[in-house]
């Protein structure tokens, strides 16, 4: 009896928090702002401030260790007339378009393959993610070694499949077109697992009954994919594409390790060129202008995709 009364009386005691701070944390508005404070400070200090600082740098002629003065849009005008910069813009667009579409195509294919039950599926799913997990710079070195003009294992395989002869000295990273192809291959290699696993998760949310219903109505495999799977997968696909396009557009490490932008700037991207000018030669303001030039293009891509995602999701 006494136990019961103790328990019931305790349940109705509303303990007021002690002290002014405790009372403030009880208020949703104050608690919300307090919880967000560390994040806001961090992002303000190391994202918003550098962004403003980048704009400030881009309109001056600052170099390392030498504060510059205001020069207006001179840096951007110089870029407009810079042939290497134009090449970098073209390369980046080509690289992004080809690499992301290939990743989507191969990733979707792999996801469809993995979306059946077979022995060792979980095992395989774990292993194919490795290219995405392993530090990019380190795995890119393995590719650089595989592309080595003298010791290339790829050439060895091609030779023994009788696709090339000893006289064909395929110099993967040394010739303009081949170098771009090689860089794209490595990017695709790294990105396919991410696409495949995310799309697989999307595929698994599609009810098999829809497929059965379509099959009963006489839809063949391709028609089922085109009219059932693809439309249902579209929202997930758009989000993955958004991330992938941004990451590919701003890629740095892969090209830095494989070709360094060469031969003759034919694989130069925005980021590698910005690094070369801004850090390599110390022209901070020019480098800042180059990397800022990514921003409008990126913004456009993001807006187009976000609008599209919203449309797909509301339909």
């Amino acid at each position: 009896m006494s136990l019961l009364s103790a328990a019931s009386s305790r349940a109705y005691v509303v303990r007021r928090p002690r002290g002014p701070i405790g009372r403030m944390l009880e208020d949703e508005r104050w608690l919300g702002l307090a919880l967000l404070a560390p994040t806001i400070i961090l992002l303000g200090l190391f994202v918003a401030y550098p962004f403003v600082k980048g704009i400030e740098l881009a309109v001056t002629n600052t170099t390392v260790g030498q504060p510059g003065h205001f020069v207006g849009l001179q840096n951007f005008v110089a870029l407009w007339h810079d042939d290497i910069f134009r090449m970098a813009v073209w390369n980046t667009c080509l690289y992004t378009v080809v690499a992301t579409t290939t990743k989507l195509a191969l990733g979707l294919w792999l996801a469809l393959l993995l979306n059946r039950s077979f022995r060792g599926k979980a095992f395989m799913r774990a292993f194919i993610l490795l290219p995405f997990i392993i530090p990019t710079v380190l795995s890119t070195f393995a590719w650089k070694w595989m592309f080595d003009p003298t010791f290339s294992v790829i050439n060895y395989v091609l030779l023994h499949l009788h696709l090339i002869t000893v006289a064909d000295r395929i110099n993967w990273l040394g010739e303009p077109v081949l170098a771009m192809v090689s860089v794209i291959i490595v990017n695709v290699w790294r990105g396919v697992p991410f696409f495949a696993i995310s799309l697989l998760a999307g595929l698994q949310t599609i009810s098999p009954e829809l497929h059965e219903a379509a099959a009963i109505d006489g839809a063949r495999a391709w028609a089922r994919f085109r009219h059932v799977t693809w439309p249902l997968l579209l929202p997930v696909t758009m989000v993955i594409m958004l991330f992938s396009v941004i990451q590919t557009f701003a890629d740095f490490q892969l090209v830095y390790v494989l070709t360094g932008g060469g031969p003759a700037n034919t694989t130069q991207l925005f980021a590698t060129y910005a690094y070369q000018i801004g850090i390599g030669t110390g022209l901070l303001s020019q480098g800042a202008a180059i990397s800022l030039a990514i921003f409008p293009i990126l913004l456009l891509v993001v807006i187009v995709q976000l609008v599209y995602i919203r449309r797909v999701e509301t339909v």
């Binding site: 349940a11 303990r15 993001v302």
Partner: protein, 283 residues
């Protein structure tokens, strides 16, 4: 799926799957073989008739030994470990609080702050590294681990917040309300009721953040300069290539050893990692 003839199964399933597996995993096999192959076998041109690339009959640990004794590799490993763990902890701390606030509490500007965090999620590191290098210099953080410990969270926090918001939304509000009726403060309900339930989400976010910080390259390349401060990725790129000479055996040994911590963490938490990926794109 209606079972087709056997050749269909082969050509539409086994052959493409095998091709994918070879394409995706061969580079790792190649790293391993190169790392244990003696130099005299390593440097034979691909066109030479004696070239036997796929295995070696004389495995050696010479490259690994040289890597650990003649270079600063173990220092780089330690640096990367400290930086990654510290950055992950900071990101989880910020991400947990921010995710909880944005998914549960009503307060002014909540919507716009949430959008702001989402936008920083989309800002690539390569956009900011030049002004940031200037700021790091002005703050006197250059060439110290703090340069990375404080900047890595800029791309980890938005991700953790995003992921954890999804987890918090899936936890029923009643759980917290019960605790509050029993007299717990908001703060305590969050700390002792909601966070423990969100543990799987915290693990996913933590593992993801750890692998992302271990992976990061451009900030580490720009902000650190002395050999003893470098991270694995930067050390391998800059210090294992002397002049124009590539020591491929050592490089591949370094790539392999440098990947082990990530692969190790990943192998224990595959499911959490996968749910991290799918959670991050679900939005």
């Amino acid at each position: 799926m209606i079972e087709g003839a056997r050749w269909r199964r082969w050509s539409f399933f086994y052959v493409p799957v095998t091709a994918f597996v070879i394409f995706l995993l061969f580079p790792f096999y190649w790293m391993l073989v190169t790392a244990i192959r003696p130099d005299r076998e390593l440097y034979k041109p691909w066109s030479s008739p004696l070239y036997q690339p796929f295995w070696t009959l004389h495995p050696t640990f010479q490259h690994v030994h040289d890597l650990l004794t003649q270079t600063l590799f173990s220092t780089w490993m330690l640096n990367t470990m400290i930086i990654s763990i510290a950055a992950t902890l900071i990101s989880l701390f910020c991400g947990l609080f921010a995710g909880y606030a944005l998914s549960r509490l009503k307060f002014p500007f909540a919507g716009s702050i949430g959008t702001g965090i989402f936008i920083t999620y989309l800002v690539p590191q390569t956009l900011l590294f030049i002004p940031l290098s200037d700021i790091i210099r002005n703050f006197h953080l250059g060439d110290t681990p703090w340069a990375l410990i404080l900047t890595y969270p800029t791309f980890l926090v938005p991700f953790c917040t995003w992921l954890l918001m999804g987890y918090f939304k899936s936890i029923p509000k009643e759980l917290e309300e019960c605790a509050r009726i029993d007299g717990a403060t908001r703060w305590k309900a969050m700390l002792f009721i909601v966070f423990p339930v969100a543990l799987p989400g915290i693990l996913s976010a933590g593992i993801f953040a750890f692998t992302l910080s271990w992976n990061e390259f451009i900030y580490a390349l720009v902000f650190l300069s002395s050999p003893t401060e470098k991270t694995v990725s930067v050390g391998v790129t800059s210090d294992l290539v002397r002049g124009d000479v590539f020591y491929w055996g050592q490089l591949m040994a370094g790539a392999l050893l440098g990947s082990i911590p990530v692969a190790f963490v990943y192998s224990f938490f595959v499911e959490h990692y996968v749910s991290g990926i799918t959670g991050s794109v679900k939005g």
